[in-house]
C-alpha cells in the first residue's frame, strides 16, 4: 500500500511507502483510503496544512488538508449563492431580431419549453441547471454553518448524504458551454448582446468547479467526526 505525498506541490515532494504486511483489523479501516479513479488501496499519512495527498498509481488527488476549510467553504458558498441569484435575476443573452428585442434567462427558457409542450426537456433543464445547483449551495451554507457552530449532528449527516447524491447531477458548467455554443450558432445571423447574468453565471461556475474539486465529501465526513467527538 503506497502513498505518495506531494508537499506543497510543485516545489518539493516526498515519497512515502507503507508496507502493510500485517493484518488489517476493523479498527484500522479509518486509516485507509481507496482512490476514486483507480481503486488502489492506500494508507493515509498526515500531511501539512495546505498540501494534498496524491495516488501512487494514477496521481489523482486522494485528500487535502486545509485547516480553515469550514470558513473558506462558508465564504465561497455564500458568494456562490449570491452570484446564482444574480445570474437568474437578469437576462443572460439579448438579441435584436428585426427591431424586436428578445431576452433569455434560465427560468424563461424553461417556461418556453413548457409552453411548447416539451415537458421532459423542461424538467431536465430546470433540475440540472436550476434546482440542483441552488440546492447544492443551500446545503453547503447550512452544512458549514452547522459545522462551525457544532450543532445538529443528525442534520449534518443527512445533508452530507443528500449532497453526495445530487453533486453528480449538477450541470451548470455544461450549461455555460452550451451558452457559448448557441452564441456561435447565432453569430452572423443576428445581433447579440451578452447580459449581466452571463458574467455572474460564469463567476458562479468558476466557484462551483473550485468547490467540487477542492472539497471532497469524504473529508467533510472526517471533519464532522472530529468536530462532534470533542465535547464527549
Amino acid at each position: 500500500m503506497p502513498l505518495v505525498v506531494y508537499k506543497n506541490f510543485p516545489y518539493t515532494f516526498v515519497l512515502l511507502y507503507q508496507n502493510m504486511k500485517t493484518k488489517i483489523t476493523s479498527d484500522q479501516l479509518d486509516e485507509l483510503i481507496i482512490c476514486h479513479k483507480c481503486h488502489t488501496l492506500h494508507k493515509k499519512v498526515s500531511i501539512t496544512n495546505g498540501s494534498k495527498a496524491l495516488c501512487k498509481s494514477c496521481k489523482g488527488v486522494l485528500y487535502h488538508r486545509d485547516d480553515s476549510l469550514i470558513e473558506k467553504g462558508l465564504a465561497l458558498s455564500i458568494t456562490g449563492l449570491i452570484l446564482f441569484i444574480l445570474a437568474n435575476a437578469f437576462p443572460l443573452i439579448k438579441v435584436d431580431i428585426l427591431g424586436q428585442e428578445q431576452v433569455i434567462s434560465i427560468l424563461s427558457m424553461v417556461v418556453r419549453l413548457v409552453e411548447s409542450e416539451y415537458y421532459i426537456v423542461a424538467l431536465f433543464v430546470v433540475y440540472l441547471v436550476f434546482i440542483f445547483p441552488l440546492m447544492i449551495f443551500l446545503i453547503y451554507i447550512t452544512l458549514f454553518f452547522l459545522l462551525k457552530t457544532t450543532k445538529k449532528e443528525q442534520v449534518v449527516e443527512e445533508l452530507l448524504i443528500l449532497l453526495s447524491k445530487i453533486v453528480p447531477w449538477n450541470m451548470s458548467d455544461i450549461f455555460l458551454i452550451s451558452i457559448l455554443v448557441s452564441l456561435v450558432k447565432l453569430m452572423g445571423m443576428l445581433e447579440i448582446h451578452i447580459g449581466i447574468s452571463f458574467w455572474t453565471l460564469t463567476l458562479f461556475v468558476i466557484i462551483d468547479i473550485y468547490m467540487t474539486r477542492s472539497i471532497h465529501i469524504g473529508e467533510l465526513w472526517k471533519i464532522k467526526e472530529e468536530i462532534y467527538m470533542e465535547p464527549k
Binding site: K21, K23, I24, S26, L29, D30, L32, I33, I34, H36, K37, C38, H39, T40, L41, S57, I93, V95, I97, L98, Q100, Q102, I104, S108, M109, V110, R112, L113, S116, Y118, I120, V121, A122, F124, V125, L128, E157, L160, I161, S164, K165, P168, W169, M171, I174, F175, I177, S178, I179, V181, S182, V184, K185, L186, M187, H216, I217, G218, W221, E225
Partner: protein
Amino acid sequence: MEDKRRDIYGAKMNSLEEEQLIRCPICEAVNRDQGKKNICRRCHSKIYQHQKFQTEKSWAFLITAIIFYIPANLYPMLVIKQFGNEDGSTILGGVIVLWEMGSYPVALVILFASVFVPLLKFLLLLYLLISVKYSLGNDSKVDKHTLYYITEIIGPWSMIDVFVVAILAGLIHLSSMEMVAGAASTAFALSVFFTIMAANSFDSRLIKGRK
C-alpha cells in the same frame, strides 16, 4: 468458498484482505465487504444491496438508453420556422451545417459531445458489463476501474445539445422566425439520463483484481 480462502491466510493474506475492502460510494469510507448486506459504517447507507441482480439493473438502464439514442438521431433536434418554411436539423445535420459555416471548433465540440461521448459510454458500459460476467480472454491488463471512472466523468457532456436547443428555442420565438425544440431533444435527454443511471447502478465490486 470465502471461508476456505480465509483459512489459508498465511502468505496470501495481504492481497486477500485488500480484495475484501470496498469504498462507500456515498461517503468514501473504506468498508469491509460483507457480501449480501453491506451497510456503510460511517454514513449507514446501503452499499450495493442487490446480490441477485448484480448487473441486470445496469443492463436495463443501458438498453433503454440505447433505444432512446436511435430516435434521438433520426428526428430533428431543432426546428427552424421561417416565413412559413419549416426546417428541422438532426444532430449530425447540425454538425455538418456548423462545419460548412466554418465554425470548426464548435462543430467538433458538438460532434464530440453528442456523438462520440454517448457512443463511447455505450461501448465502455457494454464492455464492463460483459467482461465482469464472462471472461473475455486475457483482459487482466485493462484497467477497468479507470474505464468506469471515465464513463462517470464524461456523462454530463452529452447534455450540451439539449441545453443549446433549450436556449435557442427560448431566445427566438417571433411570428416571422421561430425556433422550436424537436422530438429528438426529449429522446436525447432521456438517453443521457439513462446512461448516467446505468453507470451509477453498476456494481464496481464486480471489477476484481486491483493493481
